[in-house]
Symmetry: C2
Subunit: 256 residues, 2 copies
């Protein structure tokens, strides 16, 4: 499986992806699922991929070829993020169709993508592109999108992501959501890639590739576990444990 | 859908279930999924149910009938929790088989259960009973079991559940796991039932039925959200945000 997410806050975009791929439990591998398309000062687009690896590689290769060879429609020629999502959706559906035509089994060639970026003076945008080639943007109330193994890391996003978050806070939140997913599901694995894009910069932004042993990434996981224990300690006691006293601390672990 | 979980700590058991059932989005209803079988001083068993409602109702009815009518094998006659799990698994498979025989469509009659309890001087135990009628107990490292919509509420359990937790702490943790699932998935809903059983008591223990508006349950959700924000505030800064200073606080929300 895969876990990728994109967060859209007022100050910019955060994109985050894991790197584990598998075709059965005995065929586990590492591939980057974060693909940047950058024309500095003009546009920055970043694509996160999930699903059939041959399809996602085919889509990314086609996007690079179209842009490199000056095709009539390419990530360089589109005038808006919406146009870009439409173009990628079309290619995604087309490549799946081609693969299905030469297949005599019932293999799934499906792939999904998250597209994030900014073109010129347009506001940054994020889209989720489905295997069928259609696409949606995030909601104003929950300005984030997820693909792949999305459930483990969703509650933290549901609770804290708001448009006025700082970019770095949104970045830390993405890493926590990823860390929780990796702990609970072995099919999602390091290295974790993180891109932090500041609105209006039209540069790639900050991009990190974090191994499982990376001191910063480890420290995020450890401090988060400590913070959760503290949050549990601060929960109100059950009625039979005595009156609720705001200043009282109820130890999470039993005292000796 | 459904979300039920059981936590087994040294001091006893915590069982927790939601109450939402649905057959399609226009047929949503409320049923308790927590079924207690109590013979005070002798044994306490509690069954949490997920899956086809006709099957789970059929299983519970059969269990009550067998015990009430003094059947050869019943929850009152079994000598151990393992025997109880085996007996429930057999009934579960049998009822599904009977329902499938009279069905000409391809309806799924599957149901799963979590069984928790204590018989006599045996140590308390929890089992997960599959639709196929077989069953497993929890692992020593992660002493909890879940059925239904399990992913949203799993990361918190993975991080904090240990056998030496106090019963009340485990109970609060179960409520947090349930609260997160309800926030992220509309098919899991209140009232939430919680049973806290103390090892050796052979009584029902503390049983709560918490509506969405219950002040204690609301307070758990609110304080947990606050605690998560605080935990995010205490995460280490990215390298470019300046040197890591243990005493420094990085505000999660941007200062004005």
């Amino acid at each position: 499986m895969t876990y990728c997410l994109a967060i859209h806050v007022d100050r910019g975009l955060v994109l985050c992806s894991d790197s584990r791929t598998n075709a059965g439990t005995d065929n586990v591998s590492t591939y980057s699922k974060m693909h940047s398309f950058l024309w500095p000062g003009n546009r920055m687009l970043c694509l996160l991929s999930a699903g059939n690896l041959a399809t996602t590689q085919g889509v990314v290769k086609r996007l690079r070829n179209d842009a490199g060879q000056g095709a009539g429609t390419s990530l360089l020629s589109v005038q808006s993020m919406l146009e870009a999502a439409d173009y990628i959706g079309m290619i995604n559906a087309e490549i799946q169709r081609n693969q299905a035509e030469r297949d005599i089994s019932s293999t799934s060639f499906e792939a999904s993508f998250i597209l994030g970026g900014q073109i010129g003076t347009e506001v940054p945008a994020t889209f989720m592109i489905y295997p069928q080639g259609n696409y949606i943007h995030e909601s104003a109330e929950h300005p984030f999108l997820q693909i792949g193994e999305i459930k483990y890391g969703k509650p933290i996003l549901d609770r804290v992501i708001r448009p006025d978050l700082s970019l770095e806070a949104a970045g830390r939140c993405a890493l926590v959501s990823m860390n929780s997913t990796m702990r609970s599901n072995v099919s999602v694995g390091a290295p974790v890639e993180l891109l932090i894009y500041r609105t209006g910069s039209l540069q790639e932004g900050r991009r990190l590739c974090l191994s499982e042993d990376d001191p910063f990434f480890r420290s995020i996981g450890e401090r988060w576990s400590e913070g959760l224990l503290q949050a549990l300690n601060n929960l109100p006691p059950f009625p039979w444990e005595g009156p609720v006293d705001e200043g009282q601390v109820y130890p999470f672990y039993p005292s000796p």
